[in-house]
């Protein structure tokens, strides 16, 4: 007989095993879905997960997609670890892109080493401004940050839409909804000739290291951790809980804003309607799949990035709509939440005697 018993303490091993289990289950479920759709499951999965990264170009694309995911997820981990449910990273990314894009457009006909740092900084500030809205509303007016941050996503997308169609649209652009191309000085340098992978990846890696350092080595991180576990304890210890909430939102907004900068000054090179294929939302999955741990997030961002690439490959070679990528992302989150059950409960096999 199998009995389900509560675990005393979730072990470290199981903590990192369940994400792997979730990915495995996603593959199985994905295979089944492909089979129902009339494809050979293994072949389809191969097209989805292996073909896209089989060559140098594919690998560069993988890193290109993983960069914003990783950066945003690192920012979100600050919020999520302290129980602040910022789900509007997509909006913060968009707003960061708008602000930095605006700055980049100011310099469209200029060259200079100083331009890129200003553009990057502008993006981070844009993201922070946008994230401060739900944070301030939450701390001073008790609004629910989930709703506010989510709704602001659509607001930012509409602002972007308005700008690229109206005031910021390229005067020589035949009314296409896009701005001028940024000058080369406002573009992130490419790492390799012929590949799209750009220097933004260093921003992501820096964020990983900094977040690890802040969370595990500094008093600030300690205060965030305590405030996340219990606001009552934070109050009792004398920490400034409200400031802590605003701070984590700002960090998270800055990261999302930087991801936006990376997109527009990296592969895109201008502002148009679609600066992000929902990286801000997908990064929520990445953050949880990576267990909110900096190193875990690196791996998770790579795994989830594959679903973006795989969806494109599958669309091209198998005529499956690319939205299957989102199906896979959804399944990963679903199976992760389901297998987290194992964190708190274990199966016990009991002999027939008792």
């Amino acid at each position: 007989m199998i009995k389900i018993v509560k675990r005393d303490q979730p072990s470290k091993a199981i903590f990192f095993f369940t994400p792997v289990l979730a990915i495995f289950l996603t593959l199985i479920a994905g295979g089944i879905i492909f089979y129902i759709l009339g494809f050979k499951p293994f072949e389809a999965l191969k097209f989805f997960f292996i073909v896209p990264i089989a060559d140098k170009y594919g690998f560069s694309e993988l890193l290109l997609k993983a960069t914003p995911l990783c950066l945003i997820a690192i920012g979100l981990s600050f919020c999520f670890k302290s129980n602040n449910w910022n789900i509007g990273a997509e909006g913060q990314l968009t707003f960061g892109a708008i602000v930095s894009g605006g700055v980049a457009l100011l310099f469209y006909d200029q060259e200079g080493f100083y331009i890129l740092p200003i553009v990057i900084l502008a993006g981070a500030i844009g993201g922070m401004i946008y994230a401060s809205i739900p944070a301030i509303l939450k701390t001073y007016f008790n609004t629910n940050e989930i709703l506010v941050s989510l709704m602001l996503v659509y607001v930012s997308k509409l602002i972007l839409d308005y700008l690229v169609v109206g005031p910021w649209s390229n005067p020589e652009g035949f009314n296409f909804p896009e701005t001028r191309q940024f000058s080369d000085s406002a573009r992130l340098p490419l790492l390799f000739e012929g590949l799209r992978i750009h220097a933004g990846i260093f921003l992501a890696l820096a964020a990983v290291v900094i977040s690890w350092f802040v969370f595990y080595k500094t008093y600030l991180g300690f205060q965030m951790k305590v405030s996340g576990f219990s606001l009552k304890t934070a109050k009792y210890a004398g920490y400034k809980g409200k400031k802590m909430i605003i701070l984590v939102f700002l960090i998270s907004g800055a990261c999302a804003g930087l991801a936006g900068v990376g997109e527009i000054t990296g592969p895109i090179g201008q502002l148009h309607r679609e600066v992000s294929p929902d990286y801000g939302f997908t990064a929520i999955i990445v953050a949880f799949l990576g267990r909110l741990h900096p190193v875990g997030i690196i791996f998770a961002s790579l795994v989830v990035a594959i679903t973006y690439l795989g969806a494109e490959t599958a669309q091209i070679f198998m005529q499956i709509p690319k939205y299957t990528g989102q199906v896979f992302q959804g399944m990963i989150l679903f199976f992760l939440l389901a297998s987290d059950y194992l964190l708190f409960f274990k199966f016990k096999f009991i002999g027939s005697k008792k």
């Binding site: 600030l220 300690f222 305590v226 304890t233 009792y236 210890a237 004398g238 400034k240």
Partner: protein
């Protein structure tokens, strides 16, 4: 028809605490029974057993001579036992009518009729169509009572029903309860308010520390005798030796007020007291009378007027807990697992919660882990915390060890004043003794204590001065030698 409910040798043991120790009681319909006792006396556990929420380790329950199997609340309902909890179990956004029918399988029309009859019969007036959140506490309680009455219960249990009611609502409730009783419903009334027992009940059972102390007719009792039984008088002897306390004032509270926006919190009204070095001020009271708010105001979790708290000749009413620690105050809150410590974090991390500047836990914003660990080891050995692994998550410490760790963390900085709130709540005897000895010891070192506690024995044992908090007001401060348990009991119940 007569209803007879019998509890026979019921025992319920929680880890480290015997909640019900071989309790036997018998109730007959036609009378109103009071179950009286302090917080933690075991009343609630007993009632939860009767309503199927808690399953006893031993013992049986009989209804009209038939053995009852109560494995869940629905078993209790099936067996005609109705229960109105202290905190309402209503869906705030649903209408009154929806709340009433929600757990019933009968036809809506039948129920409507039934509810109308009940309301007419007992003169209840509640609008069935408004959402529950618009009702007053008294009306919500009526909804709960009607929900029980729909099932025509044989037994109705009321758990501290008047704690949220106004005087007017209380007397209305008493009238209804008397009417129910006349109609043959057996009523068990749980309370710690002595006046109510005298007013309402026919028989009274007193519990203390999980044991049934006495069962008697109300005619043979008075408020004093009940207070005595409830509090227990025999333990006063082991009071600490009276030292000659200094006359140097350490803390003075002047006209401290706190008004809460939260309807479930108690407002503090004109708190005034002062305390000398080396003294222990005990603050007694039944829980929920403003103790938690008083603790927070004193610790700085709730900030007040700067001049309302004078400590060591500094005005500190506007400082937060961390800043107050620098003036040599220390705090041990009531809730060990949700406030004083974080169970998911390691012992040494919990030690760092008391960030006293000179302990150097954090240098230039960085965690100084070796310093914290060194400090933690010192606390563990000085305060007999039974572990040698400071990387252990604190949830794996027993309540007693965790409390020793917390008290140790607060005391190792040698503060001038320790403010503690129910420091021995839920601990076993050994740990209680250890904490008591520690508290006496720091008094002897000319340091002061404010002890907010719901345990009267503890207060009489440790305090030099005692005051009682009732509905957010402090009684006048009495010398502990002049205080008797009767007097405390009366003050705690709101008497004079």
């Amino acid at each position: 028809m007569n209803t007879n409910l019998k509890i026979s040798n019921v025992t319920k043991i929680y880890p480290g605490c015997v909640a019900n120790d071989n309790v036997s009681l018998e109730f007959n319909s036609g009378k109103i029974y009071a179950l009286l006792g302090e917080n933690g006396a075991g009343k609630s556990t007993l009632v939860k057993i009767l309503s199927g929420v808690v399953i006893p380790d031993e013992g049986k329950i009989y209804l009209n001579k038939n053995i009852l199997k109560l494995n869940s609340p629905s078993d209790a309902k099936k067996n005609d036992i109705g229960m109105v909890f202290q905190h309402f179990n209503l869906f705030e956004t649903l209408s009154v009518f929806e709340n009433l029918i929600i757990d019933s399988d009968e036809q809506r029309e039948n129920l409507k009729e039934k509810i109308d009859t009940i309301m007419k019969k007992y003169n209840f007036s509640v609008d069935l169509d408004v959402p529950v959140l618009n009702l007053s506490a008294g009306q919500k309680q009526k909804v709960e009572i009607i929900r029980c009455l729909i099932r025509s219960p044989k037994v109705l249990i009321m758990d501290e029903p008047t704690s949220v009611l106004t005087e007017q609502e209380t007397s209305e409730l008493f009238l209804s309860l008397k009417k129910f009783s006349e109609e043959g419903i057996l009523i068990i009334y749980i309370t710690h308010k002595l006046k109510e027992v005298m007013q309402l009940c026919d028989e009274v059972a007193v519990m203390r520390r999980g044991k049934l102390v006495s069962v008697s007719q109300i005619n043979n009792e008075n408020i004093e005798s009940l207070a005595n039984k409830m509090v227990g008088q025999d333990l006063k002897k082991i009071k600490k030796k009276k030292e000659n306390t200094s006359s140097e004032q350490l803390i003075k509270i002047t006209n401290l007020n706190f008004t809460s926006e939260d309807p479930f919190e108690t407002n503090l009204v004109d708190i005034n007291f002062s305390l000398n070095r080396g003294e222990c001020l005990g603050i007694a009271g039944i829980s929920g009378n403003g103790q938690s708010e008083l603790f927070q105001v004193l610790s700085g979790e709730i900030i007040s007027n700067k001049n309302s708290i004078e400590f060591n000749k500094n005005f500190i009413g506007n400082l937060n807990p961390q800043e107050r620690r620098e003036y040599l105050m220390a705090f041990s809150p009531e809730d060990r697992l949700e406030q004083a410590a974080i169970p998911q974090m390691a012992i040494f991390e919990n030690v760092a919660l008391n960030n006293f500047k000179s302990s150097n836990f954090f240098n230039n914003g960085l965690i100084n882990e070796s310093k914290i660990k060194e400090h933690s080891k010192k606390i563990i050995s000085e305060f007999n915390v039974n572990t040698d692994n400071i990387d252990l998550k604190s949830q794996f410490l027993s309540g007693g060890n965790l409390q020793k760790l917390i008290i140790g963390r607060e005391l190792i900085t040698s503060p001038d004043l320790l403010i503690c709130f129910n420091p021995t709540w839920g601990l076993d005897v050994g740990a209680i003794n250890y904490i008591h000895e520690t508290l006496i010891k720091i008094n002897e070192q000319n340091k002061s204590i404010i002890l907010i506690s719901t345990d009267t024995d503890e207060l009489l044992k440790l305090s030099d001065k005692i005051s009682v908090i009732h509905r957010g007001k402090l009684s006048k401060i009495m010398n502990a030698e002049d205080v008797t348990s009767e007097k405390l009991g009366i003050l705690m119940g709101g008497g004079n």
